[in-house]
Symmetry: C3
Amino acid sequence: MKAITESFEIPTRGKGTYEITDEVSALLKRSGIKTGLATVFVQHTSASLVIYENADPTARADLHRYFEDLVPEDHPGLIHTAEGPDDSTSHLRMALTRTSESIPIAEGRLQLGTWQGIYLFEHRSAPHRRTVVVSLIGN
Amino acid sequence: MKAITESFEIPTRGKGTYEITDEVSALLKRSGIKTGLATVFVQHTSASLVIYENADPTARADLHRYFEDLVPEDHPGLIHTAEGPDDSTSHLRMALTRTSESIPIAEGRLQLGTWQGIYLFEHRSAPHRRTVVVSLIGN
Amino acid sequence: MKAITESFEIPTRGKGTYEITDEVSALLKRSGIKTGLATVFVQHTSASLVIYENADPTARADLHRYFEDLVPEDHPGLIHTAEGPDDSTSHLRMALTRTSESIPIAEGRLQLGTWQGIYLFEHRSAPHRRTVVVSLIGN
């Protein structure tokens, strides 16, 4: 039984989703773990994780659009805006998606479905470098 | 220390919530694990997981109703609708709930609270067969 | 390799967020685990978890405010209100945030980012005692 914790950085160009499936799969492959659990964790409160449809880019375009509507930057009453109109909304959009996501491992592979990709969801308008931590546990 | 990854299928009759607590508990019992972690993962982007109130069916009726209001099928501007008006909205409703859920194990049992049931949340109108993967790690 | 499951109680004074990072860190320290995974799980359907900005209290004030707007107690059509107008809405707000959250462990510490705190999110108006279960797995 092994327990490994590693991390990697991902640069963003501002708001949007950035696929990190390959980075997580590469860490799993290197670990040699065949059966167990991979947990992906983002160390930020203005970026989050989401497992989303990875085939047709219009799916993610709708995700980006919908979140602008669900948590609008002019939502009345928000006061945590010292860093701009995308400050509080970035935290709220993070809270509505995920900070951690756990994916079972079998036969040495992440047990993702055919259309599932792991994405970092950047909620700030400016480019950022984001740190993703991955825990791998298993045999 | 054991690490086991198994899966099961659950048929749905279209939109709604389908309890899977018994299926997950049965896998745990068979594993013989007494202390550790159970992770439930759904391999789809148009169905999700939610742990919800398991006593009064009106609670889940409100959940279904609220998600129709929160992510309406006529939400303006959605373009990922090749498979129908429940296409993009099924992904968005998935993103707002969960793809994975992890439940601690003690004394050989899932440490769910009295009123917690694990549910598959189907977001497509048509019946589907959904695959749920379960990782069990522990002693 | 160790697998430990423990729990603690946290009293709430009604709606709001209550930081539990120190409680989880204390359990981790006592476990002696250096590398692995910590999973935090709340045993309730009217309270949830969220990892949120821990520096400026206005961030959490906006979170509380936004959830009142997103899931209003007078949302039309809700029928699960036997325990009051905060009954069904407490479950819905729970479903939109998290029941479990998993945080990688390295060098004996939770790998939280600088601005991340773990919070219990109480959705009922009345004070409650909430039970949080923590699974720790690793070496």
